[in-house]
């Protein structure tokens, strides 16, 4: 799988969140995703980035453009050193929140992407990798 381009962005402030959305949009456009797919990917990125800021205490985002034969994909990796997610299954459930949100972010992001995987250890942080393929 060829990584065509990698970008690293901080995800700490409100402004970072806006920039993250822009960077992800650019990647999705460059990879030829349809408008609806671009919107889904950027929205998922926004949800995950906000979680990184609010729940993870800030972190980083890696945006990768992948190509593989005729297929292409965008891969988003969010890393933080926050409190971690104790129960991943529960966190993914719609409506589950430990904050003031609606608890739709994580489950919604999973629906909007082709694949989303979470690795987290309490007190050590959270890494979320989300990928969306373009057929």
């Amino acid at each position: 799988m060829g990584v065509e381009r990698v970008e690293h962005l901080p995800v700490r402030t409100d402004e970072d969140l806006v920039r993250a959305r822009q960077a992800v949009r650019e990647a999705a456009v460059a990879l030829g995703f349809s408008l609806v797919d671009q919107t889904k990917i950027v929205t998922a990125a926004s949800e995950l980035a906000r979680n990184t800021i609010i729940h993870g205490g800030g972190g980083d985002l890696k945006v990768e453009r992948l190509r593989e034969g005729a297929r292409s994909a965008v891969r988003l990796t969010f890393v933080d050193r926050g409190p971690g997610i104790a129960n991943v299954e529960q966190a993914l459930r719609d409506g589950y929140t430990t904050g003031t949100g609606l608890g739709l972010g994580l489950g919604g992001a999973r629906r909007l992407m082709s694949d989303l995987s979470i690795s987290s250890r309490p007190a050590e942080g959270t890494t979320i990798v989300a990928i969306r393929w373009r057929q």
């Binding site: 799988m1 060829g2 609806v36 593989e68 034969g69 005729a70 297929r71």
Partner: protein, 290 residues
């Protein structure tokens, strides 16, 4: 029977099948380490073993890879080629599956026939010829598969051109005809939503009279479209839900919630016109004359 054992390949393949397979798998793992996400080790191993086995028994009978003795091997490669296309391999990567056997096989021949350079040259040539022909075969299968895909896509495209019609000012109708699969439904629905924006129609009728069956995914797409249209500020009405489909929908446990459904397009149109602010009056023949 053709000339007795014109080649020692089957013999060598037979005696060293396991070692050759192991070497080959190792080589493939190195060459294709980047493709691990597309195919499982287990599947690769199984395909490689079957191919080696087929090669051995076919070569024992005949050395013409186009001949009947090779039918089994060709079929196997056909299957492999088709499934790899689906898995996202390029045609040259699939052909490389076959070509990459050369390296471990030649190494083995070298060792076995070290003392007999002439035999070595001959067997190497035979193996090259066979593997090249078989590798090309995978490419041909790929080509044919692609042609089929193109034909199918053309058909789909025709179906997809299902026109969204403006029945009345402010009223769109989308008559769906034929089998709906999830991806077609998605495309059609996206185009309906776009048309709502383009024509500023406040009401859209999705008519499924011509749809034989509806599965859960399609039903969900329909409902999502209705929800999306509402967010945009337009109403959707689903019409032509035949009794069987209504039953299926209930059976599937899909909740139509407060989606407006009508059994006929005519009923739906009446409601739609009403919502769009139209009042349709009929002038009776006698009245008009008066």
């Amino acid at each position: 029977m053709p000339e007795a054992a014109p080649t020692r390949l089957p013999d060598i393949l037979g005696r060293h099948q396991q070692e050759i397979l192991d070497d080959w798998l190792k080589l493939q793992a190195e060459t294709f380490s980047r493709r691990r996400d597309l195919i499982s080790d287990e599947e690769l191993k199984q395909q490689s073993a079957s191919f080696l086995q087929g090669l051995r028994s076919a070569a024992a009978t005949d050395l013409d890879p186009r001949g009947p003795a090779w039918q089994g091997v060709r079929d196997l490669l056909g299957e492999i080629s088709t499934s790899r296309v689906r898995q996202g391999f390029s045609p040259s990567e699939t052909a490389t599956f076959v070509f990459s056997l050369k390296q471990p096989l030649f190494a083995r021949l070298n060792r076995e026939l070290a003392s007999d350079t002439r035999a070595l040259a001959e067997e190497t040539w035979t193996a090259t010829r066979l593997l090249d022909a078989l590798g090309l075969h995978t490419t041909e299968v790929y080509q044919r598969g692609r042609e089929q895909v193109i034909v199918r896509q053309q058909q789909d495209l025709l179906e997809l051109s299902t026109p969204v019609v403006e029945l009345w000012e402010g009223v769109l109708a989308l008559p769906l005809i034929g089998t709906l699969d999830s991806s077609r439904t998605q495309v059609v629905m996206e185009s309906l939503l776009q048309q709502i924006v383009d024509t500023k129609a406040g009401v859209a009728i999705i008519d499924i009279t011509g749809v034989p069956t509806v599965d859960t995914l399609v039903a969900q797409h329909l409902l999502k479209t209705v929800a999306a249209a509402r967010l945009m500020g337009a109403d959707c009405i689903i019409s032509g839900i035949r009794p069987q489909i209504a039953q299926t929908i209930v059976h599937l446990g899909v909740d139509l919630g407060d989606v407006v459904t009508k059994s006929s397009l005519a009923d739906a149109l009446t409601i739609a016109l009403n919502r769009a602010g139209w009042v349709v009056t009929r002038t009776a023949p006698g009245q008009a004359a008066r």
